[in-house]
Amino acid sequence: MTQLDRLSVYHWLNAWCIKPVGGALVRQEPEYILLALMGSPLKKIMLCSSEKEIFSVEEQVMVQHSVIINNMIEDGSYNHEESKIPLDCVDSKTLKKVIDYCTHHTHHHNDNQEDLEAWDAQFLNVDSNGLYDLLMAANYLEIRNLLDLIYGTIKNMIKGKKIDEIRRIFNIKDHGFTPEEEEQNRKEYPHFY
């Protein structure tokens, strides 16, 4: 059963709160019904930002998107009763955004491509500091689709731009070439500058 189907069933059961027990229908909390029927899709895990803020998020959401978190859950190093996953290189603002991205893409994965792309465009409507932080977080957590989205965005930022403009975009004050190399490059490829 797909993740989205589970959620649909959950909402349906939530409306009725019923469970067959020995032929009778008994009112139950929907989480327990789901646990009994299909495992526990709404199990939560705790993520801890570099600012020591705790974020509770659905396990399935993070497991679906982050290779790192998926590995931690699978190899049993995460204890649901006590553990928090410390993410010392991700600040709260960025972690919240990453969780939003993963949650949206899990719950809306059946949406049409146009709607998803529009949402992604709005999601990445950030300044370049924010984009850099998201890239570092996605890289660290190994979230493939978010990484691809950000790389594509950066590529579009520099496509067709001259070298001096690209240096400005990336705030590159020291290009690392010797003055001779830089002069040679400008002489040989003036149209790129």
């Binding site: 992604d120 465009a121 990445l124 409507n125 950030v126 300044d127 370049s128 500091n129 984009l131 850099y132 932080d133 890239l135 570092m136 890289n139 990484l147 790389y151 594509g152 965005t153 950066i154 590529k155 579009n156 930022m157 520099i158 496509k159 070298i163 690209i166 240096r167 400005r168 975009i169 990336f170 705030n171 590159i172 004050k173 020291d174 290009h175 690392g176 070439f177 490059n185 490829y189 790129f192 500058y193």
Partner: protein, 117 residues
């Protein structure tokens, strides 16, 4: 179209070479050559094998194995070599080379391959 506001004091100058390489590999060979001029880190990234491996056709190993005259130090060198030196493939019936800017495959057929009805 995603709009990203550019500001001062951005962390992008610290972007790891691997990340830059990932961005460059999404562009075309011609752009990769110009991106190598941005900075020494960009040059390292833009000339890396991981980038030029993406620009080479997926079956380049099969094509190159049909010619005995290949020994290239890097994937970029291999790419440029395939652009500048056509190789004979398919028992000498076709010649193969790459288009430099975009990496598209170009074949030339020998007259033996053409049958005019």
């Amino acid at each position: 179209m995603v709009m990203v506001m550019v500001g001062e004091g951005v962390g992008f100058q610290d972007l790891p070479e691997g990340c830059i390489a990932n961005v460059v590999s999404l562009t075309i060979p011609r752009d990769a050559c110009s991106l190598a001029l941005v900075s020494s880190t960009f040059r390292s990234a833009a000339e890396s094998d991981s980038v030029w491996d993406r620009f080479l056709p997926s079956d380049y190993n099969d094509i190159v194995s049909q010619s005995t005259s290949f020994s290239c130090r890097s994937k970029k060198q291999l790419y440029l070599s395939l652009c500048e030196n056509p190789i004979l493939v398919d028992d000498g019936k076709k010649s193969f080379q790459l288009d430099k800017a975009y990496g598209k495959k170009c074949y030339m057929l020998s007259p033996r391959m053409l049958s005019i009805v």
